[in-house]
C-alpha cells in the first residue's frame, strides 16, 4: 500500500489538478450557457436552473445573425479546405516526384515561404485587395470571395510542404513500376498517387479547415458587413470586450462553434499527433 502511495499518489494528484485547470473554463462556459439569467457572474458551481433561453435568444435575436455567421465560417473554411488541398496536392506531387529545372531553389523558396507568418504581410494584402476592389469589386476587400482567395494563398505554402513530406514517404518503386508499364506523369498522379494519398489529403484538408475556422484578423479586416462575418469575428464583435453583457448567448454560441472543431480534432487525434512531431503548430 505504501509503495502504491509513493509510486502513484503524486501522479493522481498532478493529473487531478491539471484536469481541474483544463476543465475549469469549459465547465464554466457550459453552465453559463444553460444559466437562465445569462449572467457572467458564477454564483454556484452546480446550476440551480437549467434553461435553453440563451440558445433560443442566439437563434432568434435579429441583431445576432449567429446562424449566418456559422454558415459563413463553415462555407469559407470548407471551400478553403477542399480547394487548397486539390491545388496543393498537384504541386506537392511535382516537387516530390517530377524532375524540372529550378526544383531545388523552388523547394528552398517553399521552405522559406511556409515559415512566413501570413500576418506579417497583412498591411500589404490589405492594400493590394483595396486596389483589386477598385476594378473588381466582387473579389476585393470586404468580400468573402476576396477573403477566400487570400486564405487559399496563405494555406498553400504549408499544405504543399506537408503533402510533399507525405509524397516523399511513398516508395518511389511504385512510380517506377507504373512508368515501366507506360504510364504518363498525369496517369501516375491520378492512378497511383491520389488513391494512396486520399487519407492524407483528407487529414491535411481538415487541418486547413481548423486553421481557417480559427483565423480571426484577416476575417475581421475583410468582412465589415454584419451578415458576411465569420463566427469568430461575429462573436468577438458581439461580446466586444463588454463581458458582463451578452455573456449567456455568447457562451451558447461559443459552445456550438466549438463542437465541430472538437469532433474533427478528436477523430483525427492520431494523425494530428503524428503531424505535430513534423513541426506543425496548430493555431
Amino acid at each position: 500500500m505504501s509503495k502504491w502511495l509513493r509510486e502513484n499518489l503524486w501522479r493522481h494528484l498532478v493529473a487531478l489538478l491539471v484536469s481541474f485547470f483544463a476543465l475549469f473554463p469549459i465547465y464554466l462556459v457550459i453552465i453559463s450557457s444553460i444559466n437562465p439569467t445569462g449572467s457572467l457572474q458564477v454564483t454556484s458551481f452546480i446550476p440551480k436552473a437549467v434553461s435553453f433561453i440563451n440558445f433560443t435568444k442566439l437563434f432568434n435575436d435579429p441583431t445576432i445573425p449567429y446562424l449566418i455567421w456559422m454558415k459563413n465560417s463553415l462555407v469559407i473554411a470548407g471551400t478553403v479546405a477542399v480547394l487548397s488541398v486539390v491545388v496543393g496536392a498537384a504541386s506537392a506531387f511535382a516537387f516530390s516526384r517530377l524532375r524540372f529545372k529550378g526544383k531545388r531553389s523552388g523547394i528552398q523558396l517553399l521552405l522559406l515561404v511556409q515559415m512566413f507568418p501570413a500576418l506579417l504581410a497583412l498591411s500589404a494584402v490589405y492594400v493590394i485587395m483595396e486596389r483589386v476592389y477598385t476594378f473588381a469589386p466582387a473579389i476585393g476587400l470586404g468580400t468573402q470571395p476576396g477573403l477566400l482567395l487570400v486564405y487559399m494563398g496563405g494555406a498553400m505554402g504549408v499544405n504543399i510542404w506537408l503533402l510533399k513530406g507525405f509524397v516523399d514517404s511513398i516508395p518511389i518503386e511504385l512510380d517506377e513500376a507504373a512508368r515501366v508499364d507506360g504510364a504518363s506523369a498525369v496517369q501516375t498522379y491520378w492512378l497511383i498517387f491520389v488513391p494512396l494519398a486520399t487519407p492524407v489529403l483528407a487529414v491535411v484538408s481538415l487541418l486547413s479547415f481548423i486553421g481557417t475556422f480559427n483565423e480571426f484578423i484577416m476575417a475581421r479586416l475583410f468582412l465589415v458587413d454584419m451578415n458576411s462575418r465569420t463566427v469568430a469575428v461575429g462573436l468577438q464583435g458581439f461580446i466586444g470586450g463588454q463581458y458582463s453583457q451578452n455573456w449567456g448567448p455568447f457562451a451558447a454560441g461559443s459552445i456550438i462553434a466549438s463542437v465541430p472543431i472538437v469532433i474533427i480534432f478528436l477523430s483525427l487525434q492520431k494523425y494530428i499527433i503524428n503531424g505535430l512531431t513534423a513541426g506543425s503548430v496548430k493555431g
Binding site: E7, N8, W10, R11, H12, V14, A15, A22, L23, P25, I26, L28, L40, V42, A90, S91, A94, F95, L98, F100, L111, L112, V113, M115, F116, P117, L119, L120, A121, L122, S123, A124, Y126, T134, F135, L149, V150, G153, G154, M156, I160, A185, N214, F216, I217, A232, L235, Q236, I239, G241, Y243, F250, S254, S258, V262, L276, G279, V281, K282, G283
Partner: protein, 513 residues
C-alpha cells in the same frame, strides 16, 4: 475504347476550364488596366499567358502540376512579401495615402480662401441659355444680381429679373432653374464647380442655396514643382518625404501629402528616432519574455504530465482525453471565454478566489493573465510531444543506470531529460517562433493593454511586436503602413533566422535532393 472516350471527355473538360479561367482573367486584366492598376494587370497577364502556354501545349509536364499552386503563392504570399518590402521604403500613412498627382490637385482644390469681407450670395442653381450649369446669385445688400457659369458672368439690373419677397432673384432671362428631380444627379458637379466672379475671385457653393466668394491662394508652378501662396508669397517645395513644406519653415506642410519613396528612413528611424525606438524596444523585450515564458511554462507542465502519465495508472485514458480538450477547442473561442473569466467585477477568477484584481488594468496582472491563458492553450501540445518522446527513449539506458546505483532523480536529470531535450528542441524553437507572433491571444485577450494613450503611446504593456505593428498599421488615429511594413520586415528576419536554425536542427534540410 472506353479509355479513348474518357480521354476525349477529359480533354474537352480541360479546354473548357482553360477557356473559362482565361476569359475571367482577360476581363480582370482589362478592368485593372482601365483603372490604372498596372502592376496587378501585369501579374494577371503573366498568369493568363502561362496558363495558356502550360495547359494548351506540352512544353512542360511538371508545370501542369505546379502552376495553380505557384500562382496562388505568388499572388497572395510572395507578392505581398515583396509589396511589404516596397511599402517599407515609402512614406505611406494617414495624410500620405494618395499619389503625388492626386495630392497636387487636392491641394489646389483646398488652397482657396474667402475674401476678407466674407462676401456671400443667395443662389439659385440652374442652366444658362447654352445649357451649362450656372447660378443666379443675388446680393440683397448691394442689390446686385448676376448669372455665372464657369467662364462667364453676366450682370443684371433688378428690373430685368424676378425677385421674391425676400429680394432674392428667382428667375432671369436665359436662365432656367433646375428641377428638384435633377438636383441629386447634378449635386457633385454643382459643388465642385468654380463659378466665375472676376479674374481673381470665384464662387463656391456651400449648401444648396448659398454661394461664397473665394479666391485661389495656393497655386502650383509646374516647372519648379512648388506651391506659392499668393497672399504672403511663401513658397512650398517637395520636402522629399511626401509633403510640400515651407522652404523657410520646414515644419509648415501642406495637406494632403502623398506616398513618396523615402528609402531607408523608416529603418533608420527604428534605430535612431527615440520616439519610435523606445516603445519598440520595450515591446521587443516583452515579446521575447512572453515567448520564452510561454514555451517554458507549457513545456514544463507538459513534461510533468507526461512523466506522471508515463505509467499505466488507473484512469489514464480519461485523464488523457481531458488533457487534450483545451487543445481541441478552437483557440479563438477559448481566448474569448478566458477574457470573460478574467473580468474584474463579475469574472469567475476573482469570484472563485475571492480576489478583487483588475486583471487587464494592471500591467503585471495583465501579463500574468496572458501567460496563464497561453499555458492553458498550449500545455496539451507539449504533453503529447513529451509522451511520445518518452516512449522513444530506450528503457535500457535507465535500467543500466539503475543497476549502477543511480537514483531516479539522477536518472531523470542525467539521462532522460538530456535525451528528451534533444528530441523536442526543434519543436521548442518552432513553438517559440509561433508564440513570437501569437497575435490572436494578445489581441483578443487584452488588446495589447493596458496602455496609457494619453501619453501618446500606442504600445500597451502586453503588446507583442506583431500586435504593435497591427496597431501602427490599422490604429484608430494614425495609420502608418510604411513604418508597420518596416517593422514587419524586421520581424520576418528574426523569425526566419529562428526557424532556419530550428529546421537545421531537425535535419529537414538533409532530405533536400
Amino acid at each position: 475504347m472506353k479509355l479513348l472516350y474518357r480521354g476525349k471527355v477529359t480533354k474537352t473538360a480541360k479546354y473548357l476550364v482553360v477557356a473559362f479561367v482565361s476569359a475571367i482573367l482577360a476581363l480582370l486584366i482589362q478592368s485593372a488596366f482601365a483603372q490604372g492598376e498596372y502592376e496587378i494587370a501585369a501579374f494577371l497577364a503573366i498568369a493568363l499567358v502561362s496558363i495558356v502556354i502550360v495547359y494548351l501545349t506540352d512544353i512542360s509536364i511538371p508545370f501542369k502540376f505546379l502552376l495553380p499552386g505557384m500562382l496562388f503563392l505568388f499572388a497572395f504570399v510572395i507578392g505581398p512579401i515583396v509589396y511589404t518590402l516596397v511599402m517599407s521604403t515609402f512614406q505611406y500613412q494617414t495624410g500620405n495615402y494618395i499619389s503625388k498627382d492626386d495630392a497636387i490637385s487636392r491641394i489646389q482644390l483646398l488652397g482657396v480662401e474667402a475674401d476678407e469681407a466674407g462676401t456671400s450670395f443667395d443662389v439659385v442653381v440652374g442652366r444658362d441659355s447654352a445649357g451649362k450649369v450656372a447660378i443666379l446669385a443675388s446680393d440683397i445688400l448691394t442689390q446686385s444680381y448676376f448669372v455665372a457659369n464657369k467662364e462667364v458672368k453676366r450682370d443684371f439690373l433688378s428690373t430685368d429679373i424676378t425677385l421674391n419677397s425676400d429680394g432674392i432673384a428667382t428667375a432671369a432671362p436665359g436662365f432656367t432653374p433646375i428641377l428638384d428631380s435633377e438636383r441629386s444627379t447634378l449635386d457633385f458637379e454643382v459643388s465642385s464647380t468654380r463659378f466665375r466672379y472676376s479674374d481673381e475671385y470665384f464662387i463656391l457653393m456651400e449648401g444648396s442655396a448659398l454661394g461664397v466668394l473665394k479666391r485661389q491662394v495656393l497655386t502650383y508652378q509646374k516647372d519648379k514643382d512648388v506651391f506659392v501662396n499668393l497672399l504672403d508669397g511663401r513658397t512650398f517645395a517637395d520636402n522629399g518625404k511626401g509633403n510640400y513644406a515651407d522652404v523657410n519653415d520646414p515644419s509648415q506642410i501642406l495637406q494632403p501629402g502623398w506616398r513618396s519613396p523615402i528609402w531607408f528612413s523608416h529603418y533608420i528611424d527604428l534605430f535612431t528616432d527615440s520616439e519610435v525606438r523606445k516603445p519598440l524596444i520595450r515591446v521587443f523585450i516583452w515579446t521575447i519574455i512572453f515567448a520564452s515564458l510561454t514555451v517554458l511554462t507549457q513545456f514544463s507542465l507538459g513534461l510533468l504530465l507526461a512523466l506522471a502519465m508515463n505509467r499505466p495508472i488507473r484512469g489514464r485514458r480519461i485523464y488523457r482525453s481531458i488533457f487534450i480538450l483545451p487543445y481541441a477547442m478552437p483557440s479563438i473561442m477559448s481566448i474569448l471565454i478566458w477574457g470573460g473569466m478574467f473580468d474584474t467585477e463579475f469574472g469567475a477568477i476573482n469570484n472563485l478566489f475571492g480576489t478583487d484584481i483588475a486583471w487587464f488594468q494592471n500591467a503585471l496582472f495583465a501579463r500574468a493573465a496572458v501567460i496563464i491563458v497561453n499555458l492553458w492553450l498550449g500545455f496539451p501540445y507539449f504533453y503529447l510531444i513529451c509522451s511520445g518522446a518518452l516512449q522513444a527513449i530506450p528503457t535500457e539506458l535507465s535500467e543500466a543506470a539503475a543497476i549502477d546505483g543511480a537514483t531516479p532523480r539522477q536518472i531523470f536529470s542525467k539521462i532522460t531529460l538530456p535525451l528528451l531535450l534533444q528530441i523536442v528542441a526543434p519543436l521548442l524553437v518552432a513553438s517559440f517562433a509561433f508564440n513570437f507572433n501569437n497575435f490572436n491571444l494578445i489581441y483578443l485577450l487584452t488588446g495589447g493593454g493596458p496602455s496609457s494613450p494619453l501619453d501618446g503611446d500606442i504600445a500597451g504593456a502586453t503588446d507583442i511586436l506583431i500586435s504593435y505593428t497591427y496597431k501602427i498599421a490599422f490604429g484608430t488615429n494614425i495609420q502608418n503602413l510604411g513604418l508597420a511594413s518596416a517593422i514587419s520586415v524586421i520581424i520576418f528576419i528574426i523569425i526566419a533566422s529562428i526557424s532556419l536554425y530550428g529546421v537545421r536542427k531537425s535535419k529537414v534540410l538533409d532530405t533536400f535532393v
